[in-house]
C-alpha cells in the first residue's frame, strides 16, 4: 500500500511538473499583456510599454520565467495579480470558499437524488417510470449548462420573484401539480392496480393538501417550519428511513427513530430560545448543533439496540441529522420577512454570492448566502443528477443480474434486504470511483455556472484573469486544479480497493 502510494506520488509529481511547464508556455502564448497599450493613443506609449515589459520581465525567455515562477511556488509564493497588485494566494483563498459553497450542496443533493432515482428506475426496468426517467436523464444530459443557467436566471429568478410579490397559486395549478405527483408516485411505486390507485390517491391528497395549507396559512409571506411541520417531517423521516434500512417489522429500530424525532421536536423549543438570546452564532455553532443531533440520534439507536444495533443507530442518526438541519432551516426562515422587506420583494438573486452592505445578524447572512446559491445550485444539480442517475441505473441493473442476488432470493431473504444489503451496496462500488473525481473536478469551478451567475469562484478567477492576460493567477488556478485532479485519481483508486476487496493495489 505504501509502495503504491509512493509510486503514484512520484509519477503524479512528474506529470504535474510537465503539465505545468506546457501550460505555462501555452498560456504565455495565448495572452498578450501589452494588448491595451498597443492600441493606446497616449503620447508616452513606448515608455508605458517598456515599463510593463520590465515589470513582467517579458523580454526574458519564457522557459526562464517558468522556472522562476516554479521556484516561487515551491517556497509558497503564488505571485501577485499585476493589474491590481493583490496577492494571488488571498484571491485563491476567497475564490475557493465561494466555489466550495456552491459545489458541496449541489453535489450532495444531486448524488442522493440521482442514486435513489437511478436505483428505483433499475428495479422497475422497462416500466413506464423507467422510460420516463431514461428520457429525462438523456434530456438533462444533453442540455448545455449555459443554456440552463441563462434560462434559470431569466425565468426562474424573475418568475419566482414575481410570484412572491403576490403569492397566490391558482386552483388549476394545484390540481395539475397534485395529479402529476399522483401519476409519478404511482408509477414509481408500482404494484397491482389497486396498490397503484392507493399510492396515487395518497400522493395527490398529500401534495394538494400541502399546497393548499401553504396558501391558506400565508406561508409564503412568513415561511417557517414550526413544531407541527417539524414533527410531521421528523416522524416521516423516521418511518421512511426505518422502512428502507431496517424494515418496519423491526419495532425497536422504528421506535428508536421515532423517539429521536420526538426528542428533536422537544429540544427545538430550548434551542429556539437559546438562538433568540445569543448573538454570536457562527457556522461552527450550527454545524455543531447538526452534528450533536446526528450523534444523539445514533446514541438513542444504540440504546434501543434491538436485533441489530447498527441498523437502529443508523436510522437514529439519519433522523437526528434531518431534524437538526430542519431546526437550523427554521431559524434561517425566521428572518425571511425582514430580508424580503430589505430587498423590496425580490429576494432571489441572480448575480454575485452576497448582497453588499446587507448588515443584520448571522441568520440574515446565511439566508442571503442561500438566496444567492439557489439558482446556480439548481443549474448544477440538473446536469449532474442526469449523470448520476444513468450511472447508478446501469450499475444496479448489472448487480441485480448477478448470481449472489439470485442466491439471496433463493435463501428466502425479503426483497427489501436483497435490494438494500446485496444490491445497493454493490451498486455503490463503481460510483465510488466516479464521485471523488467529480467532486474534485468541480472544485476547479463550475466555470460556466459561475460565469453566468457572476459568482467570484475559482472558475471565474481563471476565466477573468485569462481574459485580462494575468498569468500568475491563471497558473495558480491551473496548478491547483491539476494537482487536485492527480490526487483525485489516487483517491479513487484507494476507495476502489477499500470497497471492493477483490482489488489489490500492490499487485
Amino acid at each position: 500500500m505504501l509502495r503504491f502510494l509512493w509510486r503514484r506520488f512520484v509519477a503524479g509529481l512528474a506529470t504535474l511538473l510537465v503539465a505545468l511547464f506546457i501550460m505555462y508556455v501555452l498560456v504565455d502564448l495565448a495572452i498578450d499583456p501589452l494588448a491595451d497599450l498597443r492600441e493606446s493613443t497616449a503620447p508616452n506609449k513606448q515608455q508605458l510599454i517598456d515599463q510593463r515589459t520590465a515589470l513582467l520581465q517579458l523580454d526574458t525567455n519564457v522557459v526562464i520565467r517558468f522556472f522562476q515562477w516554479l521556484g516561487n511556488v515551491a517556497t509558497g509564493d503564488l505571485g501577485t495579480q499585476w493589474r491590481t497588485g493583490q496577492e494571488v494566494s488571498s484571491l485563491v483563498a476567497s475564490a475557493i470558499v465561494s466555489t466550495l459553497q456552491l459545489v458541496t450542496a449541489a453535489t450532495f443533493v444531486a448524488l442522493v437524488l440521482g442514486v435513489v432515482v437511478g436505483i428505483v428506475s433499475a428495479l422497475r426496468q422497462y416500466s413506464s417510470f423507467d422510460y420516463i426517467i431514461i428520457f429525462l436523464s438523456f434530456f438533462l444530459y444533453s442540455l448545455p449548462s449555459f443554456f440552463v443557467a441563462v434560462l434559470l436566471k431569466q425565468w426562474g429568478a424573475i418568475g419566482f420573484n414575481d410570484f412572491l410579490r403576490d403569492p397566490v397559486i391558482g386552483t388549476g395549478v394545484i390540481v395539475v401539480v397534485a395529479l402529476l405527483s399522483a401519476g409519478l408516485w404511482s408509477l414509481a411505486v408500482g404494484g397491482s392496480v389497486r396498490r397503484r390507485m392507493q399510492t396515487a390517491l395518497v400522493a395527490a391528497v398529500a401534495t394538494g393538501g400541502l399546497l393548499v395549507y401553504l396558501q391558506v396559512s400565508g406561508w409564503w409571506d412568513r415561511p417557517h417550519i414550526g413544531p407541527v411541520l417539524l414533527a410531521l417531517f421528523g416522524l416521516g423521516t423516521a418511518v421512511a428511513v426505518t422502512g428502507v434500512f431496517a424494515g418496519l417489522q423491526n419495532r425497536r429500530a422504528l421506535l428508536a427513530a421515532i423517539v429521536v424525532a420526538v426528542l428533536g421536536v422537544v429540544l427545538s423549543f430550548p434551542l429556539d430560545a437559546f438562538f433568540r438570546s445569543t448573538d454570536d452564532e457562527s457556522n461552527w455553532m450550527t454545524a455543531l448543533v447538526v452534528a450533536a443531533f446526528t450523534a444523539g440520534g445514533a446514541a438513542v439507536g444504540v440504546a434501543f439496540a434491538g436485533p441489530d444495533k447498527g441498523v437502529s443507530a443508523r436510522g437514529g442518526a439519519i433522523t437526528g441529522f434531518v431534524v437538526g438541519a430542519l431546526i437550523i432551516v427554521d431559524q434561517v426562515m425566521g428572518v425571511w420577512p425582514a430580508y424580503f422587506e430589505f430587498l423590496r420583494g425580490r429576494p432571489i438573486a441572480t448575480t454575485g454570492d452576497r448582497t453588499p452592505s446587507l448588515g443584520g445578524n448571522y441568520w440574515v447572512g446565511l439566508l442571503d448566502t442561500y438566496t444567492h446559491l439557489v439558482l446556480p445550485t439548481i443549474a448544477l444539480i440538473l446536469i449532474s443528477f442526469a449523470a448520476y442517475t444513468r450511472y447508478s441505473r446501469a450499475s444496479m441493473l448489472e448487480v441485480m443480474n448477478q448470481d449472489y442476488i439470485r442466491t439471496a432470493r433463493a435463501k428466502g431473504l425479503p426483497e427489501r434486504l436483497v435490494v438494500v444489503r446485496h444490491g445497493f451496496r454493490n451498486t455503490l462500488i463503481p460510483l465510488a470511483t466516479v464521485v471523488p473525481i467529480d467532486i474534485i473536478t468541480l472544485i476547479g469551478g463550475a466555470i460556466i455556472t459561475e460565469n453566468i451567475f457572476g459568482r467570484p469562484g475559482m472558475g471565474q478567477l481563471f476565466v477573468q484573469n485569462l481574459g485580462e492576460a494575468d498569468i500568475e493567477p491563471v497558473m495558480a488556478y491551473i496548478a491547483i486544479t491539476a494537482a487536485l485532479a492527480i490526487i483525485a485519481n489516487v483517491v479513487a483508486d484507494i476507495i476502489y480497493a477499500v470497497v471492493d476487496p477483490r482489488i489489490r493495489l500492490d499487485a
Binding site: 506529470t15 506546457i22 501550460m23 444533453s142 448545455p144 396498490r195
Partner: protein, 370 residues
C-alpha cells in the same frame, strides 16, 4: 420493496420450464445470425436510437441544403447578412402554427425564425451554426477516435515501458483545461476558424477513449485467437488491426459517440464564454452568447440556437445508447411479462394455469416460428 414479482405464485409452471422459455426467447433473437447481423438487429430494435438517427439526418440535410455548404449555394434566400427590411415588427418570427395548435394558420413566411435588431435572418444564422456543430462532431469524432485507438492499442498490446510512457502522457492531457487550448488556438491563428478549433478539441478529448481501448486490449491480447494468429506467423500490426481491434470495436464506437455529444456541448460552452469560435464564423453557443441580453425583448433569438444544440446532443446520446445496447452482450433484455405470456401462449402453454408440471414444451425453434 414491492417492485419485483420474483416469488411467483405457487401454482405456476416449474422453474425449468420458465427458464426454457427465457432461453427460447433469447435464442430466437440470435439463431443463425452473424455478429454483425445481431448487432444491427438489436440496434434497429432500439426505438430511441432510430428516432435519433432520423431526426439527426433531417437536421443534417436541412442545414446543408438550406444555406449551402462552402461554395455551393443553398435554396434559402437569406445569408444572415444584415438587412434594412424587417418584416414583422421587432423582427418577430413569421412562422405560425396551424389553427388546431392555437396559431393563425400554418405559414412559413419571410423569416420563419425571426430577425435580430439589425435584420439578420435567424434561420440562416442558426443553420450555419448547426453546420459548425456538425463539423465539430465529425472532426472531433475522427481525430480523437484515431488518436485514442492508436494510443490505447499500442499501450495495451505492447505493455511495459511503452504503456507507462503513453499512459503518463494521457494523464498529462487530462490535467489541461480545455479553455486554455481554445485561447491558444485563437491567439496563434488570429481568430478561430471552426475546423482548427475542432482539431484542437479533438487533440485533447481522446484520453478517456485511450484508457478504455487499452483495458480492452489488455484483456483481449491474452485470448487464444491471438496466440493462434501469432503461431500462424502474423505480424504484430496484423494482430492489432485485424484480430484484436475488430473485437474491441463495440467499446470504441460507443465511447466515440458519447465523446461526440460531449464535444458539441463543449464547443458551444467555449464559444459562449468567448474562448471558442469567433465571428465571422457562426456557432450556436456564440449565437446564444450574443443574444442572451435580448432574452426579455426578443426571446426567439435565444430559443432557436439552444433548441438545435439540445436536439443534436439528444439525438447523438440516443444513438450512443442504442449502440451500447447493440454491442454489449451482457445487456440482456429481460423479456417483459407480456412477452413471456405471448411466447408461452404460442408454444401451447397457458402461462398462469394450474396444470403446469405435465405440459411438455416444444423446442426453441418451435417458439421462434410464427
Amino acid at each position: 420493496m414491492s417492485t419485483q414479482d420474483t416469488p411467483r405464485t405457487p401454482n405456476q409452471e416449474p422453474a425449468g420450464a420458465q427458464e426454457h422459455l427465457e432461453n427460447a426467447i433469447e435464442l430466437q433473437d440470435v439463431a443463425g445470425l452473424s455478429q454483425g447481423q445481431i448487432v444491427r438487429r438489436r440496434f434497429l430494435r432500439h426505438k430511441g436510437a432510430i428516432v435519433g438517427m432520423v431526426v439527426l439526418a433531417a437536421i443534417v440535410v436541412l442545414s446543408l441544403t438550406s444555406v449551402g455548404f462552402g461554395p455551393v449555394p443553398g435554396w434559402w434566400k437569406y445569408t444572415g447578412a444584415s438587412d434594412p427590411v424587417i418584416t414583422n415588427p421587432g423582427g418577430r418570427p413569421t412562422l405560425s402554427m396551424p389553427t388546431w395548435l392555437g396559431g393563425e394558420g400554418f405559414a412559413i413566411g419571410e423569416h420563419p425564425l425571426g430577425q435580430d435588431e439589425i435584420g439578420r435572418d435567424i434561420f440562416a444564422q442558426v443553420m450555419k451554426g448547426v453546420q459548425t456543430s456538425l463539423m465539430v462532431i465529425v472532426v472531433v469524432g475522427a481525430v480523437s477516435t484515431a488518436i485514442g485507438v492508436l494510443v490505447g492499442a499500442l499501450a495495451g498490446f505492447y505493455r511495459g515501458r511503452l504503456d507507462t510512457a503513453l499512459m503518463r502522457s494521457t494523464d498529462l492531457v487530462i490535467t489541461m483545461p480545455t479553455i486554455v487550448i481554445g485561447a491558444v488556438v485563437g491567439k496563434l491563428a488570429g481568430g478561430i476558424s471552426g475546423v482548427l478549433f475542432a482539431l484542437a478539441l479533438g487533440l485533447i478529448l481522446w484520453p478517456s477513449l485511450a484508457r478504455l481501448v487499452r483495458g480492452e486490449f489488455l484483456a483481449l491480447r491474452e485470448r487464444e485467437f491471438v496466440d493462434a494468429a501469432r503461431v500462424a506467423g502474423s505480424s504484430s500490426r496484423r494482430i492489432i488491426f485485424k484480430h484484436i481491434l475488430p473485437n474491441a470495436i463495440g467499446v470504441v464506437i460507443v465511447s466515440a459517440t458519447l465523446l461526440m455529444s460531449q464535444a458539441i456541448l463543449l464547443e458551444a460552452a467555449l464559444s459562449y464564454l468567448g474562448f471558442g469560435i469567433t465571428p465571422p464564423e457562426v456557432s450556436l453557443g456564440q449565437l446564444i452568447s450574443i443574444y442572451q441580453s435580448a432574452f426579455a425583448t426578443r426571446p426567439w433569438l435565444f430559443w432557436w440556437p439552444g433548441l438545435f444544440i439540445v436536439l443534436i446532443a439528444l439525438c447523438i446520446n440516443f444513438i450512443g445508447d442504442g449502440l451500447r445496447d447493440a454491442f454489449d452482450p451482457r445487456q440482456k433484455r429481460i423479456p417483459s411479462q407480456r412477452a413471456m405470456d405471448r411466447a408461452a401462449a404460442r408454444s401451447g402453454l397457458v402461462p398462469t394455469s394450474g396444470t403446469a408440471g405435465g405440459t411438455s414444451l416444444p423446442g426453441g425453434a418451435g417458439v421462434g416460428s410464427p
